[in-house]
Every structure is written in structure tokens, then in C-alpha cells.
């Protein structure tokens, strides 16, 4: 019997309205180590959008664990859980408290103490050795899980999800990579997990107990594999209502929530295999699938299989909190797509950025940006002044869409024959095709909202009438490549966007990347794929330094290495001379000449130097070329301020 994504389901003794889960993730919304008003608004918005089950950000069950500065501490979360449940339950949602301990994957920066671990295996990032847990620490951990679950359920949570997935001490006990103990907890690596589940079940009554479990550590020499996971879970799921399967280990943190280089639903086969293995051994908990599930069709397909009962659509609902509501009302095609860019939602970052989203910059800012949330609020139509938007890239399309939704009659002018601007170009780079989904969506929605779109229509200041609302979103332009010691013209210089758009690359290519983002790496990969002998010059010590934020740093370095791209670090081009790019080491000032036929400038762009009437509002890259998020945000702001009664 197949089931639908929006069919109700019983999770343990509770009823969930549908199969969609908003999974636990780092938000940095915390106030100290407590859950904040920001958390409440963030989860409430997803509950309001129809998500049936929400798991709150993982809270540390013991004070020895402080994995990142704003990591919630369960003993400080009582009020927060109360407020979240009170905000979400009126929408019919279940709220589960994420509970965990990061163990040797944590940090001592804030505790100024030791990491806890099953065995003496150093933290991969800091190389710090942990404290090998003794009986006392093990007992404190088990008691911490039980005490935390008690707090959560007392405050109205419908249950808890215990983290034995990424960043978890429970997984570290389950894994041969990290558990080298000779005692009972080493001989039977699932023993601690069972102890914790038993202790939690004993205190939560009939509330939901879920387990987030690792199905593949991607380290087959000693780590958890699908087969090992099945063995570990056999007999360990008594008292567990559902298991959510994730992947990744100490050596592959980025693999748990990868960007668009990895296909959607990458855990599907292993999850199904495990689900079937569990069912062979008797009554089995529900199975929740996780792993870049962002499209409704994908989620529906998964739930239609017998193996999978629930699907975690976390990034999809960061991007569109109304995903469920839209789907249920037959408007699934209008869901704002997650583009799997990971640029603003992966926030386990020392700078504590607040979780947000390129395509939905209101995410994480639900309280202060409530007035910009035009997707749900009904706005008066018909009395708004007409608006002209110049430029059909992301900023222009979003401004036009939002203005039209707010009741303005909008005409959008785009000088090219296609819409989407720089995002369309970026989507042509290897592994970035998903970016195009945003341009497609904006274009569809603009049409749907009634925007009049004029392509191949170049507009200048003189064409703009005074009384209309004018929004200028004409984007950026390539900066002139500045070479301190000159350019004899012996190497063809191209800008990255023209290369992405198809400018010919062949022979010997040098890519200049002072940014370290996706573009320089993508252009180098593209050149290598086209058969060019490729060298990437980066001003940073490592290639793609900015990709650590999206989790693609190590993978990008691996792809470049496998493609044979040569890399020169902490360097910059100072001249083009006699068929070579002259490259200077920023540390030693030593120079090398790299022969080249084509030199691609993947550096920063500049705003187009054009003059507009004082009444025009300039947004996006036309102000300063930045990312998608600022373009989307500035567009939304200008639309909402234009629609304000004061205008």
C-alpha cells in the first residue's frame, strides 16, 4: 500500500498531520544557550506553513558539551521549548526536542575544558585529544539525556529526537572509527545508545522517542556502513518510535548536508535497505529519510515506497516555509525552491551567522522582517501606483514579483533576450545547475502575479517617467583586470561570466580567483572538462576558501585535484607578458610565469556606471555586486516600502 506525503501518520502515540519533518539544525538564533524569541518565530512560521513535525535545534544534554557558541543547553531551554510548543501547536504541528552531545566533535573554546569521547581519537579540525570517558562521565551522559527529555516533555514537547547522527557522541560510541574501548561499551558499541534510549523512554511516558542515526560514515575501513548500522540497530530500537537516517563521520562532516554537487535524496537506497533489514527482525520503528530532499516530487516518491514513512525537508522549508500548505492547496508548483547552495543555511561557523536563505532572506529574521513576509499576508490591490523595474536578474525579478503581488502594475525591462541575469550564468558552471531553479521560479511567479515583461528592452534614465515607482536592478559589470606591471596583450583575457555563458576555452587556461567562492573553482573545473590545461591562481592559502561556508571546500579541492587543475596559492597576477601570466607569491614576492592562451578573471565585479533619476531606487548588484541573498532582500525591501501607505 502506498501512502501520500500529506496523509496523516501516527508516530508512536501521537498523530502527525502529514509526513513532512523540519529537521534539527544549527540556527545561531540562541540567546546565550537558551532558545530565543527568534527560535519561536522561526519554528512557528514553518508550523503555520503546514509542517507536521518540527525538531528543534539540538540541545546539549550536559554542560561538558558546548559545540558552538550559541548551541542550546537543555537545562536552559525550558522556557524556550514551552514558547515554541505554544506557538506551533495551534497549527496542529508536533514539536520534538533535538537532544545530543557532540563529544569529540565539539569545541573547548567556550567550556575551556576537555572534550568527551569514547576513546583517544583527536578532533579532526583542532587535533585536540579528548578525555576518555570513565564510568562517571558515562553515567552523567545517560542521566543528562533523561533529565533533558524530562524538561522538554514537561514543557509541552511531543517527544525528543536523540542525536546519534552527525556531531554526536552516541555515534562516536557506535563507530569503530572512534570507539576503541575494551570494556562493555566497546565490545557492544550500541550499548550506550540502548542505555540512553531506555533511560529516556523511562521518563517520557508515551511521548515520541526518535533517533537520528548514521547509516554510513563513508569510512568503510572502520566506520559505520549500512550493514554495520543494521547490526547496531538490531535489538536497539525497542522504545524507539522512528529512526531518521543520515550519513557522515568525523572525516566527512560536509557529506551530511551537501550542496548541489550531490544528487537529491542521496540516502534513499541505503535508507530503504536499512528499513527492510530492520523489518526482517520484527516490529520496527518508522523510518524517516533525510538527505537533500528538496523537491515535492522527490519527497512524494520516497514516501510512496514501502520502506519510508517520513521525509525530512529542512532546507526546502527554510527556503519556503509554506511548502506544505502550498502543496496541500494544489499549488505545489509555486513552492519557492531550495537551490541547494548552502550559502546561508549551514551556519556551524565561528562567526555565528543567523540561519537564513538566499531565496528566502526572511528566514531566521521572521520577527524583524514580518512586514516583508508578503507570501502569506493579504495585501490590498488596485490602488497602488504603477512601477517600472529595470533589469531582469534576480533582484529585478524579485522586486517586480513582490511589487505586483502588492498590487502595483509592474513593467519589467530586461536588455537581454532572457531573464535571470548573473544567476543564469552561474547555473551553467559544473554542479550549479540547481541555481537555475530560482530564476525559473522568479520568472514564473512574476508572470503569475501579472508583471508585464519586456525582454530585449534597454531602458535609460531618459525613458523613465517621473511619477512611477522606479527600481533599478541592472546588475554588475566585469571589473577591468588590474595588473600592476602591465599587459602586453599576448594572452586573451575573459571575464568569468562570459566563460560561463560559453566563451571559448581551450588550450592553456589560467583562472585568477581572488574571491575563493564557487565561481573561480567552477570556471577552472569547466576549463578542465573542456580539455584545457588549467591553472587556478588564488589569493588565499587554500583554493575555494569561501566554500567552507557551504561545505564544499574539501570536495572542491578533491574535484580540482582529480581534474588535474594546477593550483598556485597566496598569489596574484601582476602582469601578462609574452604569452604568460606573471604570478607573484604574496608571502615571498617570488614570481613565476605561467604560460596561457586564455586568462579568466574570476574576480569581483563592479556596479555598472550609469546615472538614474534621483527618485529611482537602485538594488542588488547595481549597488555593489554581492550574492543572491542581498539582491533578494533589497528587492523585497524596496517593494514593501513602495507599497507602504506613507508613500
Amino acid at each position: 500500500m502506498t501512502s501520500g506525503l500529506f496523509d496523516p501518520i501516527s508516530i508512536g502515540a501521537r498523530a502527525a498531520a502529514n509526513r513532512v519533518v523540519f529537521g534539527p539544525h544549527v540556527t545561531n538564533l540562541g540567546a546565550g544557550r537558551s532558545l530565543s524569541e527568534g527560535h519561536v518565530a522561526y519554528y512557528e512560521r514553518r508550523a503555520r506553513g503546514g509542517c507536521a513535525t518540527l525538531v528543534t535545534e539540538v540541545a546539549s544534554v550536559h554542560e561538558s558539551d558546548w559545540p558552538y557558541e550559541r548551541a542550546p543547553l537543555a537545562s536552559a531551554c525550558a522556557r524556550g521549548w514551552r514558547a515554541i510548543t505554544e506557538a506551533c501547536k495551534p497549527h496542529g504541528s508536533l514539536v520534538l526536542a533535538g537532544l545530543g552531545h557532540a563529544g569529540m566533535q565539539g569545541s573547548t573554546a567556550w567550556t575551556q575544558d576537555v572534550l568527551w569521547a569514547p576513546s583517544l581519537v583527536a578532533n579532526v579540525m583542532t587535533h585536540e585529544q579528548p578525555l576518555v570517558m570513565g564510568d562517571e562521565e558515562v553515567a552523567a551522559l545517560v542521566a543528562g539525556f533523561a533529565a533533558s527529555a524530562t524538561i522538554a516533555c514537561d514543557q509541552g514537547c511531543d517527544g525528543v529526537e536523540l542525536n546519534a547522527g552527525q556531531h554526536s557522541l552516541l555515534r562516536q560510541f557506535c563507530s569503530g572509527l572512534t570507539n576503541l574501548r575494551g570494556d562493555r561499551l566497546g565490545e557492544d558499541r550500541a550499548a550506550l545508545l540502548r542505555d540512553v534510549v531506555d533511560a529516556v523512554r523511562a521518563v517520557v511516558g508515551d511521548a515520541i522517542v526518535g533517533v537520528r542515526f548514521c547509516l554510513d560514515e563513508l569510512a568503510p575501513w572502520a566506520g559505520i556502513t549500512t550493514q554495520v548500522a543494521a547490526e547496531l540497530l538490531t535489538g536497539a530500537t525497542e522504545g524507539v518510535d522512528y529512526v531518521c537516517f543520515v550519513r557522515g563521520s568525523i572525516y566527512s562532516e560536509a557529506a551530511t548536508q551537501p550542496d548541489g554537487h550531490v544528487e537529491q535524496a542521496f540516502n534513499e537506497a541505503a535508507t530503504a535497505e536499512l528499513a527492510n533489514a530492520l523489518r526482517l527482525t520484527g516490529p520496527s520503528p518508522l523510518v524517516c529519510a533525510q538527505g537533500s530532499i528538496v523537491d515535492l516530487e522527490t519527497a512524494e516518491r520516497l514516501v510512496a515506497t514501502a520502506a519510508i514513512d517520513l521525509v525530512e525537508m529542512t532546507r526546502a522549508q527554510i527556503a519556503d516555509p509554506d511548502l506544505c500548505a502550498k502543496a496541500v492547496s494544489g499549488e505545489g508548483a509555486r513552492v519557492r525552491p531550495c537551490i541547494l547552495c548552502n550559502q546561508h543555511c549551514l551556519v556551524r561557523d565561528p562567526r555565528n551567522p543567523i540561519v537564513s536563505c538566499c531565496v528566502n532572506p526572511l528566514a531566521g529574521h521572521e520577527r524583524e522582517d514580518a512586514a516583508l513576509d508578503i507570501d502569506v499576508v493579504e495585501h490590498p490591490r488596485g490602488h497602488a501606483p504603477a512601477a517600472v523595474v529595470v533589469g531582469g536578474g534576480v533582484a529585478g525579478l524579485e522586486a517586480a514579483r513582490a511589487l505586483a503581488r502588492l498590487g502595483h502594475a509592474v513593467v519589467l525591462h530586461e536588455q537581454d533576450d532572457a531573464l535571470g541575469g548573473a544567476v543564469r550564468s552561474a547555473a551553467r558552471l559544473p554542479g550549479r545547475s540547481r541555481l537555475g531553479a530560482l530564476a525559473d521560479w522568479l520568472e514564473r511567479e512574476a508572470v503569475h502575479e501579472g508583471v508585464t515583461i519586456r525582454t530585449t528592452s534597454r531602458v535609460d534614465a531618459a525613458d523613465l517617467v517621473d511619477d512611477a515607482i522606479v527600481v533599478v536592478a541592472t546588475g554588475g559589470a566585469p571589473a577591468r583586470l588590474w595588473l600592476r606591471d602591465g599587459d602586453d596583450g599576448s594572452v586573451q583575457v575573459l571575464d568569468a561570466r562570459s566563460v560561463a555563458d560559453g566563451a571559448a576555452l581551450a588550450g592553456v587556461v589560467v583562472v585568477l580567483d581572488p574571491i575563493g567562492g564557487p565561481v573561480g573553482v567552477g570556471v577552472a573545473e569547466m576549463a578542465a572538462q573542456l580539455g584545457a590545461t588549467t591553472t587556478l591562481i588564488t589569493s588565499d592559502v587554500v583554493v575555494g576558501s569561501q566554500l567552507s561556508a557551504s561545505g564544499d571546500l574539501v570536495d572542491a579541492n578533491g574535484r580540482l585535484a582529480r581534474a588535474g587543475v594546477a593550483v598556485i596559492g597566496h598569489a596574484r597576477a601582476v602582469a601578462i607578458s609574452a604569452g604568460s601570466v606573471v604570478v607573484e607569491d604574496s608571502f615571498t614576492a617570488l614570481r613565476v610565469s605561467v604560460p596561457a592562451v586564455v586568462c579568466v578573471d574570476a574576480g569581483h565585479r563592479v556596479p555598472e556606471d550609469r546615472t538614474w533619476p534621483p527618485s529611482a531606487t537602485v538594488i542588488g548588484d547595481a549597488v555593489a555586486p554581492r550574492g543572491i541573498l542581498m539582491a533578494m532582500l533589497e528587492a523585497r525591501r524596496v517593494a514593501c516600502s513602495a507599497g507602504a501607505p506613507s508613500r
Binding site: 557558541e69 573547548t108 573554546a109 567556550w110 575551556q112 575544558d113 576537555v114 572534550l115 583517544l120 583527536a122 587535533h127 585536540e128 585529544q129 579528548p130 578525555l131 576518555v132 565561528p350 562567526r351 555565528n352 551567522p353 532572506p361 529574521h365 554588475g476 600592476r484 581572488p514 574571491i515 575563493g516 567562492g517 589569493s539 592559502v541 587554500v542 569561501q546 571546500l553 574539501v554 579541492n557 578533491g558 585535484a561 582529480r562 597566496h570 607569491d585 604574496s586 608571502f587 615571498t588 617570488l590 569581483h604 565585479r605 563592479v606 556596479p607 549597488v623 555593489a624 555586486p625 554581492r626 542581498m630 532582500l633
Partner: protein, 653 residues
């Protein structure tokens, strides 16, 4: 040296505008990350008050942002938010209790910022992305420049209302004023760009507006960069010309100086021990020759004697001592009372001060666990003196002994080696890392003052410990180098296999070609590699990480390591691990591609996470003693963890 006679100038009072400074020691502006939600905290007040109590002549707080477009890092004081006022008063009241003047530094970081926190475009003279933040700024127009100037005036007035004795304008390091002054970042063709006069227009407008805002009776300082170390950037000649312009306004009371730009040449601003002290003195020296205003010199002043020499040699009128007073809040008081040897000298290791700033953590100090925690109560004296036996005289053991003895306990320290200091003493044997050894020197000097002796050359057994009838035993026995996972399968004829600590202890390294394995990402591998290269070995460092010595970047040691390593012919191989040894070679594998290879080498030197030596703890526990394990014996970590462990246990005994 026990006399202040050699520190005559350092303690000679000086008038700076309306202020009378008791001495020439300035606690210059530096980030602390103590702000909470953009507001100054109780920790700020306690931190500055501790340095006032310790005798600093002048304190300049960290920067206060003058405009909502300026929010480059999370824990910045939002001076533009009127809610800062109570926090201002808390700071100034706490500092004034010691009679010490305190100024607020005002700043707008300009394009050396991102929109991450502000969710606004960043502002700068020209749309040139900063090399660290990598975000293209908006080139400001006249209206926006007027708004910047108004912001400075507004915040300056608020600072005076909050009790500050004046303000300092940050025009160096990371600042929109710096960006306007520098041809590297100001490409404007209007009246704000081009000639030096045009580029200085914003600075002079700010001086004018701020002086008007603070009135004639408060101090106004300007901090200028003498050399940006940037292509096309400000160098000393232009800096001197700007200083002359600033003096000519008649509105400014002193000039502070700096070197480097925070987001591209930070290693020069907060130089590590690899750079000689006083390296930036040419800047105040040059400025002082042309202007009459008091000039502050900065740049790794860690010793009162050396600070005094900068004054007597005429380079400057005041000396900025920042890290020296982070390490020891009583730097000035100890020097003045003739106890320069008691000053806890800064190591210039940059591990917990500079190193924590870029990571968005609160400012601390590797050798002073109180730094950053001043607002918390200090451990009280012990109610009942106990006999404490500390086994091991590395940093953890020495720190336990200091803290416990300060609290009134009787302390016995037993050390197996002939010299105290543990791995810190070993690490300091490498040329260029000698100042790291000051950590041990400082602790021993404290112990000497407390009358605690270290018994050296004894292998502590449970029986020996028991012979002291201890009330508490602290096991600080350190760690042992680990064997690699392939260590059991080393065949005959394989390269010599040894640990970095073996090399530092004097084991001879065989042959010429050496492969150093860096699995710690810090100085262990890189410094020993340099040592071996200096001895004539051909050295390659292999690291499984993307960078050899990855954390050298955090402490600002990476650039210069790279320069030295290049000169010494050291090869750096990244993303590579050693998978075993065979006759005359090491097998390696590239961790990203899986491609295997080998290196023909004579020796392999390992820097691996170590194994705790905790056997004694178990033995003592069995005997029923109150046992505490600290430092590497608890879990092998860096020196700071040993100091924190030692302080924590010493405070709890």
C-alpha cells in the same frame, strides 16, 4: 634589576591635551569580543579596571562603531545605539576609581566588513572588495559621507556623556578613514580622492566635527598607519604629511601610530614572536621629527625596560603596551615598584588573544586564565591550608602550584627531568620560538616569590607521593608521543622513525632526506622542520590537511613561516598522509584523490596527537588520595589548556 632608575622616562608624567598621565604606558585600543548584543558588558568594565588598577597611564577602549552600516564582526560595540550609555558609565566609573584616564576609540570599518550581520551594503570610498571580507562595497556619495561624519560626532558626544575623558579616531588598521587616506583603496576622482589633501578631507572633517561634539576640555587623538604594506598603499612619507595636517588643525591632542592593515597585513599589526620587538618604531620616530604633538609608539613592547628604551631613544612620547598588559594586568605597577622580573612577560604567541579574535571568541591569554574572566570572582584564600603534592613541572603542574600556593596551600612539586617546563621548555629550544619559554620563566618566577621549590630529577612513585602525607595529589605528568597506526609494521632498513620531541631532546636524525609528518597543524612540525633544514637536511612536510601548519594562520605566523620555509628549501605537501614505511622510503597517499606514492627518505619525524601519562593517577586513587589530573595527563592539548586546567584545579583545592 630591582630599581626603577633605569625606567625614568617610562614613569615620568606627561600632559596630553587636557589630561595628565601618570606614566607613559598606554593600554591601546584592541578588540576583545566582550560586547554582548552590541553593548559594552560588565566584563569590559572589569577588564579595563584591572589594567587601571595595575597602573596603566592611559587606557583607550576598543572601537565603538559610529554607524549602522558598520558591523564587520559579531561582538562590536554599537556606539551609534544610545543604549550603550549605561555600559559606558560602568566602564568609566570602574576605571576612574583608580584615577586613570580612559578614552573611547571611534571607528567605521568601511569596506573592511561584510553585510553578514548588518544586512546592509558596506560602505567605502571605492567599490574595491577587501581581500579578507571579499565583499564589494558601495562607493559612498556626498550624502552618505555627511552621514558618516554626523555619526562620529553623535557617538563622540555620547562617549563624553558616558564619562570618557576623550576619544581617539581610528584611522588605521581597519577603517573607512584609512581607506580614504590610502591610494590603494581610494580611486575616487571627486574632491574626496586623488591628491593627499583630498584623501585626507574626510579625516579633517571628522576631527572638526568630533572636536565640536566633545568640546575643548576633552582629549582627542588620531591613530594613523605609517605603512600599510600594501601595493600602492600609504607609506611613511604620506603618513607624516597627514600627521602634519592633523596637527595643523589645532584640535588634536596626540597621535597614535600603527603598521599594517587588519585585513591584509595583520601579521604586521600584532606581530608574533617571529618579529623583533620595536619593529614599528620607525613610524612614531618619523612623525615625531615633524610634529610637536605627543606620539604613541607600538609594536610588541613586552618588557618595561624595552619600553623605556624606546622613550629614551626619542622614538616616541608614549608606549602602547597591549599584549604585555593582557598577560599581566599589573605590568606597570610591578615595573614601577622595581619588580620587573615579576612581570608575567607576554610570549607574543598570539594563541589566545589575537588567535581568539578572528574566531569570534572572547579575548584571553595563554598564560593568564584570569584574562577575559575578570568579572568573575577570583578564587578566595584556602580556608584550611592543605599539603598538595604536584607531580610534573610542565605548565599544568607549575600553574597548579602557583594557584594553590597563592591561596595558602603548602605545595610540593616533583619533576622527573633535570629541568622544569615540560614540553614548553622543549618547544622553546627551536630558534625563533625561544620566547615561548617565557611561559616557564614566568611561572618559576611566581613560584620563587611564593617560596615554592621544584624538586627535580625524581621519578615520583605512589610511595614517594605518600611520603609527603598529601591532602591532595595533582597528577601533571604530561603525555607520551603516539605511535602511528602503521607503527607496528616497520620493516628492517626502513627510514629512522622518531617524534618531534625526540629531535628536540637531541636524538640525532640520520641521513639527509627527512619527511616531517604534520598531524597537529601547529608549530610542532613546522618548527622542527626548520630546525632540521637549518642543520642541512632536505626537508619535506606532509600534512593530511589542506595547509601545512594550518593554525599558524590563526596566530599570524603563517606568512613568515612560509617565507622562511621557502628560503630553507622546505617542501610543503598538503592533503597527504603517510601510510607506512618500507626499506628506504615512506609510502604516502593523497587523501583527496587516493593516489598513492612514496618518498625516498632517511628519516620520518612525526608530530601526532599524544597519549596521556595517567598511570600515577590510578595508583594514587587506589591508595585513597584526593587525586586531580591536569594538562596533557588528562587529555593532550595545547599549553593554554594546561594553564586553564592548572588554574581551575589550583582554585578548587
Amino acid at each position: 634589576m630591582t630599581s626603577t632608575s633605569r625606567l625614568e622616562l617610562l614613569f615620568k608624567p606627561l600632559s596630553v591635551g587636557p589630561l595628565r598621565l601618570a606614566n607613559r604606558i598606554v593600554f591601546s585600543a584592541h578588540l576583545t569580543n566582550y560586547a554582548v548584543d552590541g553593548l559594552p558588558s560588565a566584563q569590559h568594565a572589569a577588564y579595563y579596571a584591572a589594567r587601571a588598577r595595575g597602573g596603566a597611564g592611559l587606557i583607550v577602549t576598543e572601537e565603538h562603531s559610529t554607524h549602522p552600516t558598520d558591523w564587520p564582526y559579531e561582538k562590536l560595540i554599537h556606539g551609534f545605539n544610545p543604549e550603550v550609555l549605561p555600559g559606558y558609565r560602568r566602564i568609566t566609573d570602574a576605571v576612574h576609581a583608580y584615577g586613570t584616564p580612559i578614552l573611547a576609540q571611534l571607528n567605521h570599518n568601511g569596506g573592511q566588513a561584510s553585510s553578514m550581520y548588518s544586512r546592509l551594503a558596506v560602505w567605502a570610498p571605492s567599490p574595491i572588495a577587501d581581500p579578507l571580507f571579499k565583499e564589494v562595497p558601495k562607493a559612498v556619495d556626498d550624502e552618505e559621507i555627511a552621514s558618516i561624519v554626523a555619526g562620529y560626532a553623535d557617538v563622540a558626544a555620547r562617549c563624553i556623556e558616558g564619562g570618557f575623558d576623550g576619544v581617539e579616531l581610528q584611522c588605521s588598521h581597519s577603517s573607512i578613514v584609512r581607506a580614504f587616506l590610502s591610494s590603494a583603496t581610494n580611486r575616487r576622482a571627486d574632491r574626496w580622492g586623488g591628491s593627499l589633501e583630498n584623501r585626507a578631507r574626510l579625516l579633517l572633517a571628522l576631527v572638526d566635527a568630533v572636536r565640536t561634539a566633545i568640546g575643548p576640555d576633552k582629549a582627542l587623538g588620531v591613530r594613523l598607519c605609517g605603512d600599510e604594506l600594501l601595493d600602492g598603499g600609504t607609506t611613511i612619507d604620506e603618513a607624516v604629511e597627514v600627521a602634519v595636517m592633523v596637527e595643523a588643525t589645532g584640535s588634536v591632542d596626540y597621535l597614535n601610530t600603527s603598521i599594517g592593515v587588519a585585513t591584509s597585513s595583520l601579521f604586521a599589526i600584532e606581530a608574533s614572536m617571529a618579529v623583533r620587538p620595536g619593529y614599528a618604531l620607525f613610524i612614531p620616530s618619523a612623525i615625531r621629527r615633524r610634529v610637536g604633538l605627543p606620539v604613541v609608539g607600538v609594536g610588541r613592547f613586552k618588557d618595561p625596560v624595552q619600553a623605556d628604551r624606546a622613550l629614551t631613544e626619542g622614538h616616541c612620547d608614549l608606549v602602547g603596551v597591549v599584549r604585555g598588559q593582557i598577560a599581566d594586568a599589573d605590568f606597570a605597577r610591578k615595573a614601577r615598584s622595581g619588580h620587573t622580573e615579576r612581570v608575567r612577560l607576554c610570549l607574543s604567541c598570539n594563541q589566545e588573544c589575537v588567535g581568539r579574535m578572528g574566531l569570534n571568541r572572547w579575548l584571553g591569554c595563554i598564560e593568564n586564565a584570569r584574562t577575559g574572566r575578570e568579572s568573575e570572582p577570583a578564587a578566595p584564600r584556602a580556608r584550611r591550608p592543605r599539603t598538595v603534592v604536584v607531580v610534573g613541572a610542565g605548565p599544568a603542574g607549575l600553574q597548579v602550584a602557583v594557584t594553590a600556593a597563592e591561596r595558602g596551600h603548602r605545595v610540593v612539586i616533583l619533576e622527573r627531568e633535570a629541568e622544569p617546563g615540560g614540553q614548553v621548555a622543549l618547544a622553546a629550544r627551536v630558534p625563533g620560538r625561544a620566547e615561548f619559554g617565557d611561559l616557564v620563566r614566568n611561572l618559576l618566577s611566581e613560584l620563587r616569590a611564593l617560596g615554592v621549590e621544584v624538586t627535580q630529577g625524581v621519578d615520583a612513585t605512589v610511595e614517594l607521593v605518600a611520603s609527603f602525607s598529601p591532602d591532595a595529589v595533582v597528577v601533571a605528568t604530561g603525555s607520551t608521543p603516539a605511535s602511528p597506526w602503521w607503527g607496528a609494521d616497520v620493516p628492517d632498513g626502513a627510514p629512522q622513525l622518531l617524534d618531534v620531541t625526540d629531535v628536540l631532546r637531541g636524538t640525532a636524525v640520520e641521513g639527509r632526506a627527512v619527511l616531517v609528518v604534520d598531524e597537529l597543524g601547529f608549530h610542532q612540525a613546522t618548527s622542527v622542520a626548520e630546525l632540521l633544514a637549518d642543520r642541512g637536511h632536505a626537508v619535506e612536510i606532509a600534512s593530511p590537511s589542506l595547509v601545512v601548519g594550518q593554525d599558524l594562520g590563526v596566530t599570524l605566523d603563517l606568512e613568515q613561516f612560509w617565507v622562511r620555509a621557502t628560503a630553507k628549501g622546505i617542501v610543503q605537501t598538503t592533503s597527504t598522509m603517510v601510510t607506512g614505511l618500507r626499506r628506504g622510503a615512506a609510502d604516502i597517499q593523497h587523501v583527496l584523490t587516493g593516489v598513492s606514492g612514496s618518498r625516498d627518505v632517511d628519516a620520518v619525524v612525526l608530530a601526532l596527537p599524544a597519549i596521556p601519562n595517567d598511570a600515577l593517577a590510578e595508583g594514587c586513587r587506589v591508595r585513597g588520595f584526593d587525586v586531580h589530573t591536569v594538562g596533557d595527563a588528562r587529555a593532550p592539548r595545547r599549553a593554554h589548556a594546561a594553564i586553564v586546567d592548572g588554574t581551575r584545579v589550583g582554585s578548587a583545592l
